[in-house]
Amino acid sequence: MRAGETNRHLSGWLLASPLTLVLILFLVLPIAMIVVVSFWQATEFSIIPAFSWENYDFLFGSPVTYRVFGNTIKYALIVWAFTLGIGFTVAYFLAFHVRTQTWQIALFLLCTIPFWTSNIIRMISWIPFLGRNGLANSALISAGIVDEPVEWLLYSDFSVILAFVHLYTLFMVVPIFNTMMRIDKSLIEAAYDGGASGFQTLTNVIIPLCKPGIMIGTIFVVTLVMGDFVTVRFMSGSQSANVGRLIQNDIALLQYPSASATAVVLLITVLMVIGILLRFVDIRKEL
């Protein structure tokens, strides 16, 4: 019997080892490396591998850091609110208003079509649309709504958030749609039979049951927005900054240690946000 047990232990370890190995090699080691480098120093030509708090000192001592982190969180919050609103509505429509499964699948696929092109192209295509002489402005002017082209449409927080919402709403739609499809229809019937109005059914039955989907979507959107640098750079015309751009600037100037320090702080911030989110919903239990 004891031999069998050791065998079971052994095969357990063996089964787990490939994944462990992959994670150690491609997740733990790189992050450990970033943390190590963040304590180093760099000049233009060389990296000095000696322990120092200088990077963190500068990071926490500079008002720019706080402003930029504030900006990053602002983007994340606003984008989250919009993607949640739109994503939930779209998913609700697909799950409860579209009757046949064929149509559900067809419409769901329709949502994914924009994803067949690169996300940078989808983002950049907004630029000629929103520009001073772009489609949006010429439409507004010819409709007589404004006399002068509206300047804040492009290269502003508005355009950044618009692009984010456009890019990431699907990440909200998919998990919410998924959880909605798993809701037992008899629960909704029961709610109606019990005399609940449509709105009460929504708030008391559907939303609580969709929480895991909402949470997964939230994690997607928040991490994507907080880690982004391309969208902010192009849609704000380099006029706004978020943490990703701070890191990108450092890398362009070969300041790898300083970039690592910023990355570590960002990583911790994002992990804290996710930690808080997971307090609300136990995704594992609900999946």
């Binding site: 233009e44 030509f45 060389s46 500079s62 720019v64 402003r67 930029v68 630029i127 000629p128 520009g131 001073r132 002489n133 772009g134 300047e151 492009l154 290269y155 750079r233 704000s236 015309g237 380099s238 006029q239 900054a241 751009r245 701070l246 600037n249 362009a252 100037l253 070969l254």
Partner: protein
């Protein structure tokens, strides 16, 4: 059998080479060996053109491998990986950083055939005897060293050159005359509230700060000791003026890549901005009016050159000198000048340009016929004149050279704050 066959073929090849060598003397003499030489060149892309490598293969027989990187990567590689290249195609301000590391070797001026014809800017800093020397890292200040092993710069011409100048130009502001509708004469116009929300500056700190300094000086706000080597106080003041303008909404956007600058201008988002010469041409080629506006304060200029790695010796070194002499012989010069850049030895480039091209690009004369670049795109129509005029007019009014400051790190941090403001 096989060995015999091979050796016979080898023999034939040798004979052919010998025949060729006797028919075309000079560089062909060691044609047999030099064919095996490969020189690895890396640089910033402006002059790292595949056409040049192809022509080298045709004319000189050896292989030139080109790698294009951005200027930060170039600097790092030249400074830290001397074994990874044979020829460094770098800007003069990069040379100032890299030369002290000892990774490049000085070049023997007596081996450079056209040395006497190289323009004065790269020798004594003066285009004409009356010229004054501009601020910043003027090429001649880092162009010479004391001896074959010198690691410091000589204050005057010596027999040892650090870089052989290859390409240079004078930069200024680009404008959309059709949208501005009045003459623009000074750098100060970039911050003129009239262009609120319609101005742009490039987001590359080392160059952007120079353009910013040109503007602040033109506004009469700051008098710089040396715009190419600012003090912390000067950097702070400059960035304060620009941050204030940014917060007031003066800038539509900042650009980092060539394409962005072209699109901003062509779409009319921006009517005045810092720009590079080929970008102006790209806007014009879309049929949009765009001028590389000469300004009374002068130009911000830049120059590049090729340096030899410390590790080059023997046949490779000979090949490299051959390459340098070929570079200054005119074909490359003509190729670059027909794109709007200048060659270090304009005289020889003239042989590779038509009279019309030479008149338009160099002498500032009216084009007598369509001007096309080496890739066949029309650059100007008959009757047009180059913005800024002749070589002497343009290069004669350089106010400042691209530079690296002692306070570089501080400047970069301040620039980042400006972008994040």
């Amino acid at each position: 059998m096989t060995t015999k066959k091979l050796s016979r073929r080898g023999l034939l090849k040798g004979a052919a080479a010998a025949g060729a060598a006797s028919a075309f003397p000079a560089p062909m003499i060691w044609a047999q060996n030099i064919k095996d030489v490969t020189l690895r060149q890396f640089g910033t892309g402006v002059s790292n053109l595949n056409e040049v490598a192809q022509k080298v293969k045709e004319d000189l027989g050896f292989t030139l491998e080109m790698t294009a990187l951005d200027s930060d990567a170039v600097t790092q590689r030249a400074a830290t990986q001397p074994g990874s290249f044979d020829i460094a195609d770098i800007e003069y301000w990069i040379c100032k950083k890299v030369w002290p590391t000892g990774n490049l070797q000085a070049m023997d001026v007596s081996k450079i055939k056209n040395y006497d014809k190289i323009v004065g800017i790269f020798k004594d800093g003066k285009l004409t005897p009356e010229s004054t020397i501009a601020q910043g890292t003027a090429p001649h200040t880092v162009g010479f060293t004391d001896g074959p092993d010198g690691t410091t710069f000589a204050s005057e011409q010596t027999n040892w050159m650090t870089l052989i100048p290859t390409i240079y130009n004078a930069d200024t502001l680009g404008i959309r005359p059709d949208l501005i509708g009045r003459p623009i004469e000074t750098w100060a116009e970039l911050l003129n509230p009239e262009f609120k929300g319609k101005a742009s500056i490039l987001d590359i700190s080392s160059i952007g700060i120079m353009d910013a300094a040109m503007v602040c000086e033109a506004m009469g706000e700051i008098a710089y000791g040396d715009k190419g080597n600012m003090t912390r106080e000067e950097i702070d003041k400059t960035m304060a003026i620009f941050t204030e303008a940014k917060k007031a909404g003066q800038f539509r956007a900042f650009w980092k890549t060539f394409d962005e600058s072209v699109n901003l201008m062509a779409s009319g988002e921006v009517v005045i901005q810092s720009m590079w010469s080929p970008a102006i041409t790209a806007v014009k080629s879309r049929g949009i009016d765009c001028v590389y506006q000469p300004l009374k304060e002068g130009y911000r200029s830049w120059g590049g050159g090729i340096g030899l790695s410390k590790n080059l010796s023997g046949l490779e070194l000979d090949a490299a000198y051959e390459y340098i002499n070929w570079y200054l012989d005119g074909w490359v010069g003509g190729f670059l000048m027909r794109q709007g850049y200048y060659s270090a030895v304009p005289e020889t480039s003239k042989n590779y340009m038509s009279e019309n091209e030479w008149g338009y690009w160099f002498e500032g004369k009216e084009a007598t016929d369509v001007i096309t670049n080496p890739f066949g795109d029309a650059m100007a129509q008959a009757g047009e004149v180059r913005d800024g005029g002749s070589f002497e007019e343009r290069m004669g009014s350089v106010a400042c050279w691209n530079a690296v400051m002692d306070e570089n790190q501080y400047m970069v941090r301040k620039w980042n704050e400006f972008i994040a403001a």
